[in-house]
Symmetry: C2
């Protein structure tokens, strides 16, 4: 009898998921998973390719691959208001961006699509977009605005005033625009893996829920640990972690559906099947 393989589980190596890593560590759950740390877009690709069994998937990639995936209930990374780390940074008023260049950071799919939706449908401008590595100074050398996510976006928030940049928090913008929370990433499991190993998936799901609960009660400790390595203070990090929304309840699911509807209207993703997203039922 061969040894059982631990489930291959993705982990986003950004500050936004550090609380969950803390929870997986403190709860002891790490001993039961084969954890792969990487950037959101690489983890999304690995889950879709079958190189991971369970892991976070950026919303746009989930919508493109919903046929192969189930979502785990009650866990996501999003915001119900400001998110602080998904930002449209502009050197000119947003309303003057028509025909001007907007750099899209290559680390984000969902943030980038949200920015494009917002600029075109809410602000009412039609810029010219180009993909760019997520280096804000260089992006703004070559463009009038830039979309960045993650740690670099969080730091840009603090640097923006001294440069005279305008920062639009896309979590807040979505909330003001639609009244709904924004879900940037959810946790997917491959449908075939869930069918073959429902018990393992249930265990991983429970481990994530326990880890989420545990980290929420210890957010100040997580922030202090993170501050040893980051330029942001423990207080700024604690604020950031509290702003993030790791839940995936009814309102968040409504947010997913609304984003899916608008993205499908743009032809960017297939329509979400009626009643979707489909969840893993453990």
């Amino acid at each position: 009898m061969p040894a059982l393989q631990r489930p291959r589980v993705g982990h986003i190596q950004f500050l936004n998921c550090l609380p969950l890593y803390w929870g997986l560590m403190r709860s002891g759950a790490l001993i039961d998973v084969d954890l792969h740390k990487d950037s959101p877009e690489r983890l999304s690709a690995a889950l879709v390719a079958g190189d991971l069994d369970v892991g976070p998937i950026t919303l746009v990639e989930y919508l493109r691959n919903a046929a192969d995936l189930l979502l785990l209930p009650d866990i996501a990374v999003g915001s119900d208001g400001p998110v602080l780390s998904v930002n449209l940074v502009s050197t000119v008023p947003l309303s003057s961006l028509s025909g001007r260049r907007v750099a899209l950071g290559a680390t984000s799919r969902t943030g980038v699509m949200l920015a494009q939706m917002y600029l075109e449908s809410k602000v009412g401008v039609t810029p010219t977009y180009f993909q760019s590595p997520p280096d804000l100074a260089r992006m703004l050398d070559e463009a009038d605005a830039a979309v960045i996510i993650g740690d670099v976006a969080l730091r840009a928030l603090h640097d923006a005033p001294q440069h005279g940049w305008t920062v639009t928090d896309l979590g807040q913008a979505w909330r003001d625009w639609t009244g709904l929370p924004m879900v940037f990433a959810a946790w997917g499991v491959r449908r075939s893996f869930a069918e073959a190993h429902p018990g393992l998936v249930k265990d991983v799901h429970q481990a994530f829920l326990r880890s989420k609960d545990l980290c929420l009660t210890e957010l100040d400790e997580v922030a202090e640990a993170a501050a040893r390595w980051e330029t942001l203070s423990a207080a700024a990090l604690a604020h950031y972690f509290r702003v993030l929304d790791f839940s995936l309840g009814d309102r968040q699911v409504e947010g997913i559906r609304e984003f899916a509807r608008r993205a499908a209207e743009r032809g960017a993703v297939p329509a979400l099947p009626l009643g979707g997203p489909e969840f893993f039922v453990g």
Copy 2:
């Protein structure tokens, strides 16, 4: 000011180091390191190449690269008697191996050299060696004996009787032969990194010592967690973890020196400088 980079730390993804991983997890130390899990020989190569700052290094590779490395005090993976997982498996008596083929598992440098020393200098035979992937059944199809380490060696111990194989535990063989403990891997830090970041190295070292102490008090729990994924029972795993020697005291250092002396006599490694190995002093 850029964010500080967490030290890049290696971790052996074998059962022998699972207790240390448990300790790093339970003590919370994982939050402060960038942990890279891999096989011993790949971690050794990464440390030598500068792709890791701190990590376990197989004794032979340490001896070949002692000029670039310091060892961390009081932590190692070895045995002071049986080790259970570094085995010479033979289908014929060892004394009849002269001129016969012995397969050397490609996952071990130190275990393989110890086996060669033992066969030639203690048993007094001169086999023909060849490198092989660590698949015991195939090795013994093509050879009369095989050297294997790690999880596959541990499982072979349990399978050996039914196949009529003779298993020589090379930790026990070394101890019977020299009276000394055997150190299979120690923890090295790159000398240049230790000079540039002595505080970080001290922190990592303390984290490992705390983790070692913690896991030793919780070995039954570690064994129960591991048994969920391994073919071995929790009791067999607990016995294995207790047999392993994670210490690096005076006797273990004597064991390193004796192995180094014999390996240098064979021309396999440079002589250890007088007073070596050189330790990191935090």
